[in-house]
Symmetry: C2
Subunit: 192 residues, 2 copies
């Protein structure tokens, strides 16, 4: 059934499954039982397991970028949006669970051996950095963020810290320093 709405719903379920168990840890049988669709229908709609995975990864990217853009915008100032977003993404229990970042999971499991996954992951991180670059530039124009460093550098630093935090969160190694670490990182944006 190639109706787009059902395809999107199936993609979301597939994303959840791949997110939890990885690519190799998710079998077609798990997919059929979770999506409620049998294998031939999946192959008719997506072509292969890898194509389904790539589609789920692309959906994750658009969801993530959209979420971050909205979070950055819904604030009284560019700097306030940055602070709010970084705190939310670095805080331990803010996400629905400690699943980490799906793009990171994909990068570690497959990027070394699958050029398509590598390309998609690079795009995801590039867009994520780009969104933060825009916000940092606006905050710099407002005088709320130091201007002696390139916005690209500061944005990359924020993304770095966020991804690092989501790793540590997954290993339950963070004791509760999440919020304090976010505050400290954000101090780096202050004018000296």
């Amino acid at each position: 059934m190639p109706r787009k709405i059902e395809k999107d719903a199936a993609l979301e379920h597939a994303l959840t499954l791949f997110w939890d168990h990885g690519y190799r840890g998710t079998s077609m049988d798990m997919l059929t039982s979770t999506l409620g669709v049998e294998k031939p229908s999946i192959y008719a709609s997506f072509g292969s397991k890898q194509a389904l995975y790539l589609a789920a990864l692309a959906q994750y990217r658009s969801w993530l970028i959209g979420w971050v853009q909205r979070s950055l915008r819904d604030a009284p100032s560019a700097r306030a949006g940055i602070d709010r977003t970084v705190r939310l993404m670095m805080a331990r229990s803010s996400r629905k669970s400690r699943k980490g970042c799906f793009a990171t999971n994909s990068a570690l499991e497959l990027a070394d051996h699958d050029p398509l996954v590598l390309k998609e992951v690079r795009t995801t991180f590039a867009q994520l950095v780009a969104v933060f670059v825009t916000a940092v530039q606006a905050a710099q124009a407002d005088g709320d963020v130091r201007s002696d460093r390139a916005p690209q550098l500061l944005a990359q630093l924020l993304v770095n810290a966020i991804e690092g935090a989501r790793i540590m969160e997954k290993s339950r190694a963070v004791n509760g320093h999440g919020a304090a670490m976010a505050d400290l990182i954000l101090c780096l944006l202050d004018r000296h």
Copy 2:
């Protein structure tokens, strides 16, 4: 052949293989051909694929902690050791390849579903933070690191930044900001 020296060499080869391809991506056939030992010998020495993986993970932990301890110590001061170590671990091409951190790989691939792996990964990160805590405390005593923040927080921040950088490095998303980011992070340690 249960001689320890050969077991250690086999473990190192297994570690390389698991590091490159992950747990599920490494088959017993790959292990036998790389270790130069047939399957029954592997099972006689380690018991199972999972046990072999855990042993490799433990060897990685001792290697990593030892390396960091040595790097922190081989410097004229505690602060200099911290700077040197963080710069080395965050710099893109310093590692032999962009394989990332094996503990992180394990955490993302298996920690959610294998409590033994989770425990080992938690221990690894806890020891890594502990090593940095010791260094930060010494540097604080020297007056080379701000004392208005807990050493645990600062150490966790450093490990966070390092792990984040090693993720981004794997996706080739960092453009060359690695060294600049390390410098910026290290500024956070300065007395205000």
